[in-house]
């Protein structure tokens, strides 16, 4: 299980004077759903294209199952890609599309036929086998692209923002379907996206990329609950950045003074020292009114947005503004008026000091 499917070692890439990747290193384990998450221009697509073989790194090496592949052309790598635009061959039927890779691998005709049938069955597209891509909807094309890429049983499946062209409801359904396909086939999936929700929902592990560097690698919970720096905390989910003063830091914990005058002990990554720092608290972890803990402080409601299931509040205390959200658990849930004062607070375990 912990065998390495992909090893990226010291890979860098420049486009002219622009540094797309700055000496990146990380491993992807066999059979895991690995996501590269980051804003556009963070280098995630470049990295994916390097794994496929469409780009080559300026420095560093890439190993696929322990084998150096930088010099190997795309058609000789046991890696398949699901393209963002699907890239189905418009002049071929779905069957022909799915069979294309198998024919090039020199499979026997009878084996190709049964494999194509099996793959189309798996993505629920059997009844359209003889149609052409133009006769399909976006979601259907997406599933055919998946079947085509999975048919040759690649060592690694690369997915380049495959859900971004679908509408919201379909996207949700495809997430579950992708996750299930990955579990069933046991193939290593490398998924690229800028959508943090997708990444949190589907991945075994996430690499957050930013500015051509790996910012953090971890499980979805680690990334969301224990972001190592401001970039990760900001990009994944919503959060409040509160200016705090670190009084003492040791052993992964720190004593800080909040702008609301409290002294609290919170978790902190290695490298946090005494002095000014940033505290990250997620809006949903700030409790209001009768749900607020003993350490609560009074805050004024500056604005609120009623979202149905939730209400988002913009609050102010001691001249510091912050956001909180509350689940409307009952019919009378949203009763705090704008301009009113309410008790607000958060558990010490819900906050985290960040580097820089």
């Amino acid at each position: 299980m912990n065998q390495k499917a992909v090893e990226v070692i010291g890979v860098s890439k420049n486009f002219g004077s622009y540094q797309a990747l700055k000496s990146i290193s990380f491993d992807i384990r066999s059979n895991e759903f690995f996501t590269m998450l980051g804003p556009s221009g963070c280098g995630k697509t470049t990295l994916l294209r390097m794994l496929a073989g469409f780009e080559s790194p300026d420095t560093g090496s890439i190993l696929l199952n322990g084998r150096e592949v930088v010099e190997i052309p795309p058609h000789k790598r046991r890696v398949n890609t699901v393209f963002q635009s699907y890239a189905l061959f418009p002049h071929m039927t779905l069957e022909q599309n799915v069979a294309f890779g198998l024919e090039n691998l020199g499979w026997q005709r009878s084996r190709i036929r049964s494999r194509v049938g099996e793959m189309l069955e798996r993505v629920h597209m059997s009844q359209f086998a003889t149609r052409k891509p133009a006769q399909l909807s976006g979601g259907q094309r997406q599933r055919v692209a998946l079947a085509r890429a999975l048919a040759p049983e690649p060592e690694v499946l690369l997915l380049d923002e495959p859900l971004s062209a679908l509408d919201l409801k379909l996207r949700q359904a495809m997430r579950d379907e992708l996750r299930m396909l990955q579990r069933d086939t046991g193939i290593t999936f490398v998924f690229v996206t800028h959508d943090q929700e997708e990444a949190l929902d589907m991945s075994d592990r996430i690499a957050v990329l930013g500015g051509g560097e790996v910012q953090q690698i971890g499980t979805p919970t680690e990334i969301y609950e224990e972001p190592v720096n401001r970039f990760v905390a900001d990009f994944v989910g919503e959060t409040n950045f509160l200016p705090v003063e670190v009084l003492e830091a040791a052993g992964g914990m720190a004593t800080v003074r909040t702008p609301f005058g409290q002294l609290i002990r919170v978790s902190a990554p290695a490298g946090v020292t005494k002095g000014a720092a940033t505290l990250s608290v997620r809006p949903e972890k700030i409790n209001l009114g009768d749900q607020a803990p003993a350490t609560a402080f009074p805050a004024q409601v500056v604005n609120k947005n009623y979202m149905g299931g939730y209400t988002h509040y913009l609050l102010s205390a001691n001249g510091t503004e912050f956001r909180a959200s509350r689940r409307n658990a009952s019919r009378e849930g949203d009763t705090i008026p704008v301009g009113g004062t309410i008790a607000a607070g958060f558990a010490e375990t819900s906050a985290r000091v960040l580097l820089a």
Partner: protein, 311 residues
């Protein structure tokens, strides 16, 4: 007009809108100029030539209206003194030679144009526009001048023989006045007509499809054969038509470059209308040429529509 629409004041315009009078048929009057232009510029000349082809040859050149198929008969048969018909392949040879020359010209243009167009399509937008402009540049110079330029290039003491002499070829070399010279000039003349449509179809080609082909274990040859060629076929076909059709009627290149030694259909037709003074025969050859072209175009059109209906 449904009944529910009649709850307002009843107007008299409804029936008139349904059946407009002749003078109010805007579509007819709007399209009339283009129908007239097509009729006068396209249909009328062809009808005249068709009429001439079945006319009788005049005693002193020209023709007399009538119905006489001897013009067509003359393509394959010679009429002896006693009126018996004798099969003579001389014009058939000319027709076949013309078809072969046009075919070879088309194939060479295809082979050269595909890599050229591909290369242009891969350039950044500004350079691409400049290169396309350069491809069309020869059209700005009269064709006859360009053919004379080729006569200089290939002829005795021209740049090409001189260049080869430099590498040891014997002096006084000339490449003029043979089928090769004719072919060179024809390929040169019709090349832009091939490059432009091929370029247009290659440029439209989605680059990720090529990547997808490589990704699915297709090498360069497989990718070219199974993805690039099928998807650029419309451009290749229209380029081939644009080169093949005028090649069939080429007059200038065979007579200037080939030295007029090898008769082609174009020259043959011209000869019948000028020196030969046999207009019905010339018109009959022209109609034969037209039928060949129509057959080729119909076959291609039928294939294209057959493909579309299965798409």
């Amino acid at each position: 007009m449904t009944d529910s629409a009649h709850h307002g004041p009843v107007t008299a315009t409804a029936p008139r809108a349904r059946a407009p009078g002749f003078w109010h048929n805007l579509a007819f009057w709007g399209l009339l100029p283009s129908w007239l232009l097509m009729g006068v510029a396209l249909l009328l000349p062809i009808l005249i030539i068709a009429a001439v082809s079945v006319a009788t040859r005049g005693a002193y050149g020209g023709f007399e209206w009538g119905f006489d198929l001897s013009g067509y008969r003359q393509i394959l048969f010679n009429e002896g003194w006693t009126g018996e018909l004798e099969f003579t392949p001389q014009y058939l040879v000319i027709i076949l030679r013309t078809l072969a020359l046009a075919g070879v010209t088309t194939l060479i243009c295809l082979a050269v144009a595909v890599p050229v167009a591909y290369h242009i399509a891969c350039q950044p937008p500004r350079l691409k526009a400049a290169l396309v402009y350069l491809i069309t540049l020869p059209f700005w110079v009269s064709m006859i001048l360009r053919v004379y330029a080729w006569m200089i290039i290939l002829g005795r003491d021209g740049p090409l023989p001189r260049f080869l002499e430099f590498f040891g070829a014997h002096a006084g070399l000339s490449f003029m006045y043979n089928d090769g010279a004719t072919l060179a000039a024809m390929v040169y003349t019709y090349m832009p007509l091939m490059v432009l449509p091929v370029f247009a179809s290659i440029e439209k080609l989605d680059g990720t499809l090529i990547e997808a082909a490589h990704d699915l274990y297709g090498n360069r040859w497989v990718t070219l054969r199974r993805v690039i060629l099928p998807l650029t076929a419309p451009g290749l076909i229209s380029g081939a038509i644009l080169v093949f059709v005028p090649s069939l009627g080429a007059v200038l290149e065979p007579s200037l470059m080939g030295g007029g030694k090898q008769m082609m259909m174009g020259s043959l037709i011209q000869l019948q209308f000028s020196g030969g003074r046999n207009w019905p025969f010339g018109a009959a050859i022209a109609m034969t040429l037209l039928v060949f072209v129509m057959i080729v175009l119909l076959l291609i059109a039928r294939r294209a529509t057959a493909k579309e209906s299965t798409a």
